[in-house]
Assembly symmetry: C2
Homo-oligomer: 467 residues x 2
């Protein structure tokens, strides 16, 4: 079937009948199940699948794929449903493969600093599992995401500036291909020049080239010392310039997060704290006790040069955890600033020297916005998110938020950046892909899709723009 052909109801029914034989009650067609799986955490509209198949093993995923392929029925992989660009919407119906029950940590190898997990294991679950090993997995997108989903969207988050993104931290994947065959993308060697980089081909492919079922990840020793500090600035440019200078000076910060005035207000209310409500950077330093003290001193000196004040340490693990927990709950904290509003979030990333310019541009563009606008960013990477607190019942506000986002994305691309630093494309960003990458790159991406999913059954309508 061509990617855009309508789905014959009889094909879906036949596939569901076969899936019920395979999975019994783990193939569900209830409205609740279908609706739960028809959206993610974004405001993109509900688009439910025809059925949900709960898989327990790679072999089962393979069997599900073979059934759907035989009937020409689309398959959408689903982890925790925390994506933000409609990645899990069943745009053409079909079967959502819920992988959340594949949540076993298969093998921890502390001596090699790596681990193999099933795709449904979450980041928190893994770090809890690792508690007694002295190791941790650093990539932290701030959502309770599964590691399979994080690999599929090339996720990153607050400490990518030090530890890299999923691109750098996935050693190997097990993937079920569109024809049901099971692919192991690589072995566990830290480096290899043995052929095409199949691991990176699937990291960020959002379920459109195959369904990731196992993930082997790099681990890191929990640093001997960790310290966090908070520094307030007179304006957002001073904060951004400080972050840029820290990176350019080579200070190995583990995290550097920007929160603007509104974000700090939301943060204070949510965490019942009393930080100055001005643009602020949160830093975290990892290393030896002497090393983190040295890093903090270097950052403080840089911040002083940009008018930073109130450089304070979050002393002790408890204070630090409170800080980052509140940061993780930012999505809820900011929504509480306008009850009933939806948080419409953006996700651009630019070369770091253009970051201040890019953020200034969006604040100028939105200065007359009829809704609150807030900036928050993993600024060490040049990656930031704008939040537009939109009344979802007001189509004019929704349209305006979309227009702001479009202009921001186009500005970021013009500055040499990307339409998405970490959320992925889903279908929300696919319209920007040609502008960002150009015709030839889009054609090459289509060739890859065609080579690996010739019948277009894997998460159709995602990443690549239609037509």
């Amino acid at each position: 079937m061509s990617a855009a052909a309508p789905l014959a109801p009889s094909a879906v029914e036949a596939a569901i009948a076969d899936l019920k034989v395979l999975l019994g009650e783990r193939c569900s067609t209830t409205q609740a199940d279908r609706e739960h799986h028809g959206r993610d955490e974004s405001p993109h509209p509900l688009c439910p699948p025809d059925a949900v198949a709960y898989a327990l093993s790679t072999d089962e995923v393979s069997a599900i794929v073979r059934i759907c392929r035989r009937h020409g029925v689309p398959l959408i992989a689903f982890g925790a449903g925390t994506s933000l660009e409609g990645h899990t919407s069943a745009l053409r119906g079909g079967v959502t493969v819920d992988l959340s029950r594949m949540n076993a940590v298969l093998s921890v190898r502390p001596e090699d600093l790596d681990v193999t997990v099933q795709c449904g294991v979450t980041r928190q679950q893994l770090n809890t599992h690792l508690r007694d090993t002295g190791l941790f997995f650093p990539v932290d997108p701030g959502a309770h995401a599964t590691l399979g989903g994080m690999a599929a969207t090339r996720a990153s988050g607050t400490n990518a500036v030090r530890y890299g993104t999923m691109r750098e931290n996935v050693l190997s994947l097990t993937v079920v291909l569109a024809d049901g065959r099971v692919l192991k993308t690589a072995n566990r060697a830290r480096k290899s020049s043995a052929g095409y980089d199949l691991t990176r081909l699937f990291v960020g492919s959002e379920g459109t080239l195959g369904i990731i079922t196992e993930v082997t990840l790099r681990l890191y020793g929990i640093p001997e010392a960790v310290s966090a500090s908070i520094c307030a600035f007179p304006d957002i440019e001073a904060a951004v310039d400080t972050a840029i200078a820290c990176i350019q000076s080579g200070v190995p910060v583990a995290r550097v997060e920007l929160l603007d005035t509104l974000a700090m207000t939301a943060f204070n209310r949510w965490s019942k704290s009393d930080h100055p409500e001005t643009p602020t950077l949160f830093f975290e330093f990892h290393g030896t006790p002497a090393g983190v003290a040295e890093q903090a001193a270097m950052v403080r000196e840089i911040a002083d040069g940009f008018g930073g004040s109130a450089f304070r340490f979050a002393e002790g693990a408890e204070a630090r955890n409170r800080l980052w927990e509140a940061r993780h709950n930012f999505h809820y904290a900011i929504q509480a600033m306008r009850p009933g509003a939806s948080a419409y979030g953006t996700d651009t990333c630019v070369p770091i020297s253009r970051l201040a310019e890019c953020i200034r541009g969006v604040f100028e563009d939105t200065r007359n916005a009829p809704f609150p606008v807030s900036a928050l960013g993993h600024v060490g990477d040049g990656n930031f998110h704008m939040t537009f607190l939109v009344d979802p019942a007001n189509p004019e506000e929704v349209r305006l938020a979309e227009a702001y986002n479009e202009r921001l994305v186009r500005h970021a691309i013009a500055l040499g950046g990307t339409c998405t630093g970490e959320h992925g494309v889903g279908f929300g960003k696919s319209k920007f892909l040609r502008e960002e990458h150009g015709d030839v790159a889009l054609d090459v991406m289509r060739l890859l899709k065609q080579a690996l999913d010739p019948e277009g059954i894997l998460n159709p309508g995602k990443i690549l723009p239609e037509g």
Copy 2:
């Protein structure tokens, strides 16, 4: 034309005639030029192309590719010719595209810690160019390689343990595709989730999917302090165990190189130094003055626990440069240990916990070897090289070296490792690819090759095994 079809002499002649119109004297068919381009630095036999085309720009490479494609003539990309698995051999004749004259540094952006170069710029040339910026490019394969060639083979070398390989350090590539179109793989954002990872698809593709013509690379600040130290061990296992323990303890060493007794003897003779001739680790530490002192102290403590002695610092930049220069010249130093011999080098990489076992295995296997055998490794990554000093005129020695290499590779794969950590596949390693990756991965690699080079004109016979 199918990849294995014989090349019609008339097609080659017609292509050369067209190339001479395009390039004039920069299309050469002299025997000297052809033979120079028909091998690399390995003992793989000479296999010269029919002509050599010296390109000066991406547009010219595109025009060369279009001409060769029209006539069905193979194209082999050539940088400095320092590869080690026959990557540049013209197995089916055709035209070698010599890219060494494309050696302009196009744009240095210190504020973004990145640089764009033409593919023919060498690592040393780039670092010389950067001298006044306070920045450097760290990936150092120990050969005078071009950056295009290093990207194409996914090169790494001595300090990958700290800074990563070409996989982590290439931000974007310009690539001429098999149909002559010019692809830009990505923008300069430090991270992006915008579609398939085209950059990583071409890093390590060895000229079989496209010809890399420009490379955008990450740069790093030259560390405030650098120190190097040397530690001798009673046996090779103590040295390897020390390296493993350093990595497992999270000491951020910038380099950790193993040299066995024979390698140290060669090193002493070459550099006229008097280090103890026992298995030895060379370390380099990067950071602040306090940081490098702390790292060195941690490493010394670990080394002490494994019987390390003579822990000495190479004080000052001059002593350090002498140390690494001698290390870089190891290829010549070891060859001098058996005048007239060829250095047959291996390149396996295993999970670090299996490194001692893997090295022990090869020394057991070669204990009755009729030629000198030496181990040398970037042991922080689990990557090491054996050198067999073979008399090239003695077929029995050559056969034996090949047999040792085969058993070593199979052992490394069985231990969860790879047949090549950094040299690449060329045609020397293609016979191991199926054993390492399995049938499904090989099929996926073939699908990629087929999608991007359907006529099989790009570096035929490399990476993927025949048949």
